[in-house]
């Protein structure tokens, strides 16, 4: 690479620089993308959207911390986690799109709120906006990554080879996310009176959204052998959270039950009020210029 002529440097170079989330063809290269016999494809697409939207929307929230974190090192760490999740989202939306005949961007930018299938925990504002702070962000990350890690761990055995491969790759990332959240939970729980109070409040903020994570959806019942029944993850995840909260000297909140809306929640496309604003921001430019290429 020549530094004296920037024009040359524009034309050459290695793509490997972009370490996280900007490309994923290699990660899944060699994976058989044919749909396994007997699998309900519509249900498979719906399931990929559930897991993909969880990652996409949480990534969108986490990236709000970029340039706002408590220290530079943490800014970089949170961006890495957001990039990992964005990478997972892209792989999952792409898989859904193979059934639906749409690409990842059509699915991310051109679906309306009611078509998004993410859990509420992913979409609520836990900071840096007014809905939370760094502690609430860590509380959400702890719950989300503990749950998704348990889920992906079982998803490795999915009858869909693509889902299994996505889970295999995501597992290491999620282990890192959970560790990061646990390290911070312990430090904030134990650190100062203020940090203890904020961390406890952060847990209270996210706990009402916990039950939804373990509610079995009809799609997951249809996809036996392909999907993971989240109800089966509860005791494992509870155990992990219990251990972290104990180490941090924090109390497990008792309020786990945010009521559903006419029996529905995120997996059914019924969201919180925060979701409309999140999508308005995320989708605005893409929708403003139909036919544009990016």
């Amino acid at each position: 690479m020549s530094f004296d002529n920037a024009y040359e440097s524009l034309l050459g170079g290695e793509d490997a620089h972009w370490a996280f989330g900007t490309g994923f063809s290699e990660a899944l290269s060699g994976v058989n993308r044919e749909f396994p016999a007997g699998v309900d494809r519509e249900a498979l697409a719906a399931y990929c959207l559930m897991l993909g939207d969880d990652a996409l929307i949480f990534s969108q929230r986490l990236s709000e911390w970029c340039s706002r974190a408590p220290e530079l090192e943490e800014d970089i760490a949170l961006a890495n986690i957001a990039l990992d999740l964005l990478g997972q989202a892209r792989m999952l939306l792409t898989r859904a799109g193979e059934v639906l005949g749409r690409d990842e961007d059509a699915l991310a930018y051109l679906r309306d709120e009611r078509e998004f299938r993410n859990v509420h925990l992913a979409e609520i504002d836990c900071g840096p906006g007014p809905g939370g702070d760094f502690a609430a962000t860590i509380a959400r990350l702890l719950v989300f990554s503990s749950w998704r890690l348990a889920l992906f761990s079982r998803l490795r055995g999915s009858a869909d080879p693509v889902l299994a491969a996505i889970a295999e790759k995501g597992l290491k990332e999620l282990a890192y996310h959970r560790d990061h959240a646990a390290q911070w939970t312990v430090r904030l729980g134990d650190g100062t009176d203020e940090s203890h109070r904020r961390m406890q409040a952060g847990l209270e903020r996210v706990w009402p959204f916990v039950d939804e994570l373990f509610a079995t959806h009809a799609v997951e019942v249809t996809l036996t052998g392909v999907a993971v029944d989240p109800a089966s993850l509860r005791s494992e995840v509870d155990g992990v959270l219990e251990a972290v909260l104990n180490a941090a000297g924090l109390t497990r909140p008792t309020d786990t039950r945010a009521a559903r809306v006419a029996g529905m929640a995120g997996r059914d496309g019924v969201h919180t009020e925060a979701m409309g604003y999140l999508l308005a921001e995320m989708q605005h430019l893409h929708r403003s210029l139909p036919g544009a290429v990016w």
């Binding site: 340039s67 974190a69 530079l72 430019l285």
Partner: protein, 312 residues
């Protein structure tokens, strides 16, 4: 003794060897370096904001990932550079306070607003391009830790420039609306990019001593000319024009002639009157202040932990 030290320092610098952290160095050299490297670090950190402004709205998932990775790189660059100042006895916390209290500067370019997504591409192409012109010579700067940080940074910056240019090429192949968006963005960023090299040599106060110490390697005007020469063929390949009626090839000089930026605007922005000066500093101050309880908690936890281990 002092003369010996000074002579050895001069000899080291003249022979193009590197000055390392524990070497004796003149106070002026140390101060100049801390100021310059800190300013550079601040620029990377403040520079996260104009582009970060578009992460949530990036129009494709691939662009979102690239942009987030790029802004994250800038945090890393700031971190490397603050580390380099710490080898000179400075302290990141102290420098951060100087930044948010307005006692130290950062590159004025970041006080311009990013108004469309094309700005992400143009910043990559022109602003990072100008930064590369400024920074490549610094890979050979006399202070070792600074030079080593710059080598790493320049390598990453060239990727940034490339992604910016690639975004613009893609947009120019898109709809007419997109092409108009690119040209509009170029019109807004061209002059501020030229200003990034600093005032004309005749008005630049720091250049001479810095050149002698090999902290700086080329004058502002030399670098500006080089940047214009480099950018013109790139603009032609892209299909955009620069908003300068005086810009044309000079056969005699073998270089491009070009007009002067509006130096009144430059000084106005430097002195705090830019569209975004207050916003950028307020953003950085809020992040620092909002994070104080987190940093404090981590220190408190570490102290308790150390006490427990000591007692055991």
């Amino acid at each position: 003794m002092a003369d010996d030290l000074e002579r050895r320092f001069e000899r080291t610098v003249q022979s193009e060897a590197r000055i390392e952290p524990r070497d004796w160095m003149p106070d002026g050299y140390r101060k100049t370096l801390i100021r310059q490297i800190a300013q550079h670090a601040h620029s990377e950190i403040i520079g996260m904001q104009p582009e970060g402004n578009w992460i949530s709205r990036a129009p494709s998932l691939r662009r979102k990932a690239i942009l987030l990775a790029k802004v994250q790189d800038e945090a890393g660059h700031g971190l490397y550079l603050y580390s380099a100042t710490e080898t000179l006895g400075a302290d990141r916390e102290d420098l951060t306070l100087k930044l948010i209290e307005g006692r130290q500067k950062y590159s004025s370019i970041f006080n311009y607003p990013t108004l469309t997504f094309a700005d992400v591409g143009v910043i990559g192409w022109l602003v990072d391009g100008a930064a590369i012109c400024n920074q490549v010579p610094l890979c050979r700067t006399s202070y070792g830790p600074y030079a080593r940080a710059m080598i790493r940074i320049c390598k990453e910056e060239s990727f940034h420039q490339r992604q910016g240019y690639e975004l613009l090429m893609t947009m120019m192949r898109g709809t007419q609306q997109q092409r108009d968006m690119v040209q509009d963005s170029v019109n807004r960023w061209w002059w501020p990019s030229l200003m990034m090299f600093g005032p004309p040599d005749a008005e630049s106060t720091n250049t001479e001593q810095s050149m002698a110490w090999r902290i700086k390697r080329d004058t502002n005007d030399e670098l500006r000319q080089k940047f214009v020469n480099m950018s013109m063929p790139q603009a032609e390949a892209l299909g955009v024009t620069f908003p300068d009626p005086e810009l044309r090839w000079n056969d005699e000089r073998g270089e491009y002639d070009f007009g002067q930026p509006d130096w009144d605007e430059f000084w106005q922005v430097v002195k705090g009157g830019g569209v975004c000066n207050e916003q950028r500093i307020a953003h950085r101050r809020k992040a620092h202040e909002d994070g104080a309880w987190v940093r404090e908690a981590a220190v408190a936890h570490a102290a308790k932990h150390a006490r427990k281990e000591g007692a055991a």
